[in-house]
Amino acid sequence: MGALQNINLDIEEGEFICLIGPSGCGKTTLLRIIAGLELPSAGTITFGHKSIAGPDPNRTMVFQEFNLFPWRNVAQNVEFGLETKSIPKGERHRIAQEYIDLVGLTGFERAYPYELSGGMKQRVGLARALVTSPKVLLMDEPFGSLDAQIRNLMQDELLKIWHRVRTTIIFVTHSADEAVYVADRVAILTTRPGEIKDIVAVDIGRPRSRFDPHFVGLRCNILEGLDMPC
C-alpha cells in the first residue's frame, strides 16, 4: 500500500515546476523523497545520473512551517548550510550576507526568529536554502501559512530571486492560482493512489497578470483536473 504510484516526471534543469493536489495525495511525500528524507519503497529517483540515497545540500528545502533554528539569529540561520563545508569564517559571512541582501532582510542580521513576522521568517528560510547554491530548491507549501497579501508579495519576490539564481524549483502548493502564477509547468496529482494525472504547461510570459484570460483559463483547467469548481 503505497502513498504514491506511477509517478513519472522528468524535470529540466532551471525549470520551475509546481506539484498541485488535494491534501493526502502524497505531494509532500514526493518532495521528501526527492530531498532524500524518505526512500521510495519501489522505483528509482535519479538526480543527474545518480539515484538519490539521502539528503544532500545540492537539494535543499524550504518548509511551510519555516523551521528556523530558534537559538540562531538571522545571519547564523543563513550560515548553517555553509558550516559543514570547509569555508573560512569571513567568506561564510560574506556569502550569507549576499543572500540576506537578496531576500531583502538587510538590517535584520542579528534579529532572532521570534522577533520576525511570518513573511520575514520565510525569507530567512529561502536565504538559508539558497546559500549552498543548490541545483534544486524544494519548496513545500512555502507560503501556505502566510496571509493572502503577503503570499502574493512573496510569489513576486521568489520569481525575482529565481531569475537571479536560476536554480531548478520544485514547488508544492494546493493553490491553483499560485501554481499558474509562478510555475513553468504544473503537475496535477490525484489522491488514492497518488499519481500524476496531468501536466499543464503555463505558456504565459512573466510578469503574469491574474486577470489575463489565458491565466484564468489555465487556472480553470487545473481546478477541473482537481475535480474542483472553477
Binding site: P55, P57, P70, A129
Partner: protein, 255 residues
C-alpha cells in the same frame, strides 16, 4: 502613600521588616529563652561574633559542592544526551536509573565515608548523587523533545551525521532544559552538602551548624548559620540565572 508603595522594593523591604519585628517581639517578650527561640538581635550579633569563621566555612562547603556538581554535569549531561538521542541507550540506562534514583542521596553518606574517607571528594560524592539525576533527566527530556522537523532541516542543509546533529541541533535546542536541570541540581546538591557535613564530615557550614546545637547549645549562632546557608544558596541561584538567562532567553521566549 500609594506613590511610595508603588516604588520597586518598598513593599518587599516592608514585609521583611515586619517579619523581623514580629520575630524580635515574640522572642524577647513571649518566649524569652535563647535556646528555644533566639531573638533577631542575638542572631545579628552572632554574625558579628562568627565573622572570622564564616568565610572559611563557606569556602569549604562551596568547594565540596562544586566538586559534586561538576562531576554530576560531566556524567549526567552525556548520559542524558545519549539516552534522549539513541533509543538503545535509553533502554540500557533507564532501568538502572529507575532503581538508583529513589534512594535519597543522604543514604549514601556512609559509603561516601567508607570510599573517600573524610576528604572533600567524600562530601562531594553525596552532592554528586543528589545533583546527578536532575541534570541527567532534564538533559534526557531536552534531547528527547528535539523536533524531528528541525533535525530534518539540518540534514537537508548538509548536517547528516549524528555527531553534527547532536552538537549543532539537539544540544542548543536542549540547552534551556539542561540549565534548568543544573539549577534544580544546585538546590538539591546544597541540601546534600549540608546534610553530609552535619552527619559525617568534620568541617563546613553543615558541621558548624550541628556543632552549635549538639556540643555548644548556641542556638543564636546556629540560626545565624541557617540564615547564612540560605543566603549562599540564594546568591548562587541568582548568579546562575543571571549568567544563563542573558545568553539563553534571548531566543527561548518563543518556545
Amino acid at each position: 502613600m500609594s506613590r511610595i508603595t508603588r516604588q520597586k522594593g518598598v513593599l518587599e523591604l516592608l514585609s521583611i521588616a515586619i517579619v523581623l519585628g514580629i520575630w524580635e517581639l515574640v522572642a524577647v517578650f513571649i518566649v524569652g529563652k535563647t535556646f528555644t527561640l533566639p531573638s533577631f538581635h542575638e542572631v545579628a550579633t552572632s554574625f558579628y561574633d562568627l565573622r572570622k569563621d564564616i568565610p572559611g566555612d563557606v569556602a569549604i562547603s562551596l568547594k565540596r559542592f562544586a566538586i559534586g556538581l561538576l562531576w554530576a554535569a560531566v556524567v549526567g549531561i552525556p548520559i542524558g544526551a545519549a539516552m534522549g538521542w539513541f533509543k538503545s541507550m535509553e533502554r540500557m540506562f533507564d532501568p538502572i536509573i529507575q532503581v538508583i534514583r529513589p534512594i535519597p542521596p543522604i543514604a549514601w553518606i556512609p559509603f561516601a565515608l567508607v570510599w573517600f574517607h573524610l576528604t572533600d571528594y567524600g562530601a562531594g560524592f553525596v552532592v554528586f548523587i543528589g545533583a546527578l539525576f536532575p541534570i541527567l533527566i532534564n538533559t534526557y527530556a531536552g534531547f528527547k523533545s528535539v523536533p524531528r522537523r528541525l533535525v530534518e532541516t539540518a540534514q537537508v542543509l548538509g548536517r547528516t551525521k549524528s555527531y553534527g546533529l547532536i552538537r549543532f541541533v539537539a544540544f542548543p535546542y536542549a540547552a534551556p532544559s539542561i540549565f534548568t536541570g543544573i539549577r534544580i541540581s544546585m538546590g538539591v546538591g546544597w541540601m546534600c552538602i549540608i546534610a553530609a557535613e552535619m552527619i559525617g564530615f568534620k568541617s563546613g557550614l553543615g558541621f558548624r551548624l550541628w556543632q552549635r546545637f549538639w556540643f555548644l547549645h548556641q542556638m543564636d549562632n546556629l540560626m545565624a548559620y541557617m540564615i547564612l546557608i540560605g543566603v549562599v544558596a540564594l546568591v548562587m541561584d541568582y548568579v546562575f540565572r543571571y549568567l544563563t538567562e542573558r545568553r539563553l532567553l534571548r531566543w527561548y521566549k518563543e518556545v
